[in-house]
């Protein structure tokens, strides 16, 4: 549905700055009916990509087709089937909620009493505020309006740039559930950026980019297992005693989190046998035991080398094969183990 080929964009910067590409040879195909989440550190080019996709920026090079239409030749055909939610506010502050919705519907050639109004507002807290002006809404409520209005026009393709920033957890969940159910019902193609990995877990595919380039693109579970590392979490009746026992009997160094013991950085092949051994030896002392995959967030930090201040993996060792930098490792100050 969305085909992006070798997209490169360089902003015409100030004269003294050397121009830096905001997007560099970016390739991505999003299938029809797919829910694709895009993530990357701040300044990695996500919003730039969005502005290109919604036809507001002409890129330096590359091609984009949406729904079979060439974005740069027939932008109007593309606009007809696309809905966009921008990272920044895009509603009229002096109009009321209802007036904004009606205006937006009119721009897409729908009547102000569009059938979708109830559906679009269903998940929001705006139902009883149709006559309230937008400049008297709270930031989160105004954000809800932005999201509601993009659902109003029943687009085939929906582009969302950090849609849930500023929403409270309940509204965020309501919106995502609404979005997903509409997405499934209408086989809508969704491309959404987010920094919240709980949202990415729900996606069919997660794309991680940095410095305008694609680092990884896969399903959430593949991405997580591609880390090659898992964590065994044990909840014993007496954590201290078990920790000591594990150290002495099996030469393991569990980390303690509350009444949990975590054995991190275990290879995917060994984790099951480790669990079995622990269970067989210490069954009587254990309340529960589980294997946890690396979180998407860990994959993100690992790939982008962002908060840890390390550099991203070089291209000669494929991005997903290099070492695992677990969260617990940083916290406990243990040296980072890197196994190839």
């Amino acid at each position: 549905m969305i085909k992006i080929r070798r997209l490169t964009h360089v902003y015409p910067g100030a004269r003294r700055q050397t121009p830096r590409p905001a997007l560099l040879h970016f390739n991505l195909h999003v299938e029809e009916g797919e829910f694709c989440v895009l993530s990357g550190p701040n300044g990695s080019g996500k919003s730039t990509l969005f502005h290109v996709l919604c036809g507001m920026l002409l890129p330096s090079a590359g091609s984009v087709t949406i729904g079979g239409y060439d974005l740069f030749r027939v932008p109007r055909m593309v606009r007809r089937i696309t809905g966009v939610v921008f990272q920044s506010p895009a509603v009229d502050k002096y109009l009321s909620v209802g007036e904004n919705m009606a205006l937006y519907a009119a721009l897409y050639g729908r009547s102000s009493k569009a059938v979708g109004l109830a559906e679009a507002l269903e998940w929001t807290d705006l139902k009883n505020r149709l006559h309230q002006r937008v400049n008297t809404l709270s930031g989160g409520l105004a954000r809800q309006l932005e999201l509601a209005k993009c659902l109003l026009t029943r687009p085939k393709v929906l582009l969302l740039d950090e849609p849930t920033s500023g929403l409270d957890p309940a509204s965020r969940r309501n919106f995502l559930e609404m979005l997903k159910s509409i997405q499934r019902k209408r086989a809508m193609t969704v491309l959404m950026t987010t920094h919240i990995f709980a949202e990415a877990e729900e996606a069919h595919r997660v794309v991680i980019m940095k410095d305008g380039q694609l680092l990884a693109c896969d399903t959430p579970s593949h991405l997580r297992s591609s880390m090659g590392r898992e964590m065994v979490v044990v909840v014993p009746s007496n954590p201290e005693a078990l920790a000591l026992a594990l150290k002495q009997d099996m030469d393991l160094n569990p980390l303690r989190f509350g009444d949990e013991l975590r054995l991190e950085n275990v290879g995917t092949t060994e984790s099951l046998s480790l669990l079995e051994t622990i269970l067989s030896r210490y069954r009587s002392q254990i309340h529960s035991v589980a294997i946890k995959q690396a979180a998407l967030e860990d994959v993100f930090i690992h790939l982008t080398g962002h908060s840890a201040g390390i550099h991203p993996p070089h291209s000669d060792s494929g991005p997903l094969e290099s070492g695992f930098l677990g969260k617990g490792n940083e916290e406990s100050g243990r040296p980072v183990e890197t196994e190839q």
Binding site: R76, R79, F86, P89, L107, G109
Partner: protein, 261 residues
Amino acid sequence: MITVHATAALAQREFTRFVRQPQRVIGSIGQPILFWLFLGTGFTGSFRPPGMEGISYIEFFYPGVLLMLLLFASIFSSITVIEDRDQGFLQSVLVAPISRLVIVFGKILGGALIALTQAMLFLLLAPFIGLVLSPAGTALELILLLLTALGFTALGFLCAWSMKSTAGFHAIMMVILMPLWLLSGALFPIQHVPPLLRLVMETNPVTHALVILRLPFYHAAEQLLSDKDFLVSLFIVVIWVMASIWLSVLRIEKREKGISY
């Protein structure tokens, strides 16, 4: 159909926003009235141009104030172009599946209708200085006012589109839009100025807008529609309006492009 609907919705939005900002309403109606009363009464004693005996300055200046009113209303509307961009609303409009002409025309029409409303209020004052319009004359005058307002708002739109800040727009307005009015014959009759200035004034489309706005007060509408001078000025104004709209559409069709790398 979608085109008409979307244009009307965009124009209506301009109007709603205008009414919801009371300062804008008061400022844009009060200012021309004050100009007219102060300048008009001040000059009336000393101003007696040859060939215009029998016309007081306050009467001479009246169509000029109408023109000024349209100009200022349009400038205020054009400033909202910059506000729309700053507040992000413009993004929503630009990604909508409507032609760029609809975006331009919705904005311009909304601004022009606001200006026309103000002008209509000001027209109510005309009988007090002895300027009386027949029903046909009123209809003609209103059409001409709308046309002129479209010209000004389109020109304002064109100037405002590339502006990053309202402060910058104020500067541009003072060096481009104000002189158009100053050199239109609103303040002084065109007949007695030096030849070079006269040439400049005659090429100024706003001068012709003033001509067509002034005539219905003194001649019957039917008579004007067969008057060559009137028709020539009307033609020039129409060209001005169409050219400004066309240039505005060309301007907003140009998208920001990345540099090659």
